[in-house]
């Protein structure tokens, strides 16, 4: 009987080889015997997968489907800084009132002679846009930074207030404020 060591290039069956080598020699490694045992360690792989999962969960940005309008916070001005020759800018007042349960049931009125009530917020936007001074419209009535005061009645719904604010900002006016409800300003 020949052993695997006596004929190094021979390929003996595994059972026969293991039986003889275990009897006389130290067992050969599988690689030396020409076998490649590929095994996947699932435990470490699952660990890494969960770690990656945690990483992406923590770093992901969960959007809420919401947007925001910035409101100017009134800043206190120090005494003596006003320019004595600067003419005070008269704010453009827009009065709105809810007149029904529907989304379009709102009365919109601009406090300025010559500008009649506007039936919709789209019309309010068009009117404000038409009267804004810009390169294509140098004879407009208002500069972009002309203050606009939105004055809702106490019973005006919040959605109508927001629509009016949106119309002013959409017309690219930069100084828009929400005023105390029902103010006589």
């Amino acid at each position: 009987m020949t052993s695997a060591l006596d004929t190094p290039f021979s390929r003996t069956p595994l059972l026969e080889q293991e039986g003889e080598s275990s009897a006389y020699h130290q067992p050969l490694s599988r690689r030396h015997r020409g076998e490649f045992d590929l095994r996947l360690n699932l435990v470490s792989m699952i660990d890494v997968v969960f770690l990656l999962f945690m990483y992406f969960l923590l770093t992901a940005n969960f959007t809420l489907g919401e947007e925001v309008y910035l409101i100017d916070v009134p800043q206190t001005r120090a005494a003596g800084l006003d320019d004595p020759f600067e003419l005070p800018e008269r704010p453009l007042a827009i009065r709105i009132a809810t007149i029904g349960p529907g989304r379009a049931d709102c009365s919109i009125r601009i406090d300025l002679p010559g500008l009649a009530a506007t039936p919709t917020f789209e019309a309010l936007y068009r009117r404000l846009e038409d009267h804004r001074v810009r390169p294509g419209n140098p004879t407009g009535l208002f500069m972009s930074d002309n203050p606009i005061h939105i004055i809702p009645t106490p019973a005006t719904r919040w959605e109508h207030t927001i629509e009016a604010l949106n119309a002013c900002l959409r017309a690219q006016y930069t100084s828009v404020r929400l005023i105390e409800p029902g103010s006589a300003e």
Binding site: D47, W158, N166
Partner: protein, 147 residues
Amino acid sequence: MNLTPMIDMTFLLIVFFILTSQISNVEVAEEIELPEPERSVAAEPDEEHRLVINLIPDASDRRRLSSMRVGFRTFTADAPGRSRLRAELLAAAQSDPDLKIDIRADRQALYSEVYPVMSLASSSGAKRIDLVVSATLPGRGDEEVER
């Protein structure tokens, strides 16, 4: 297969989801229906930390407020509740000079109910106040309207 590390990670995930779901419920009150203006020009909120004031509508009359919620704290919509909210906002503004406040109000709420809270937030010393609206869905309101 060694199940021990897998069970460890599963429990960690469960704890994570429990904690985060609680926080999201506190920050954003689900019972508020935000306004959804047509052709909105509102901006997407930035990633910075902000204090969210939820104006919870009354269940029987959505035009009225039932309470105001900031994080885990709930304030009644009456004068004592407003003064407690004012103290809370003042303390928050003192601890964070760059405080930003989000106001979430229901679309049906009356302006007379929302304005006092806006006024409180404005006088608290917050650096910035944002009004939260529902985001316009992509493609909605993009069609041109005849002049």
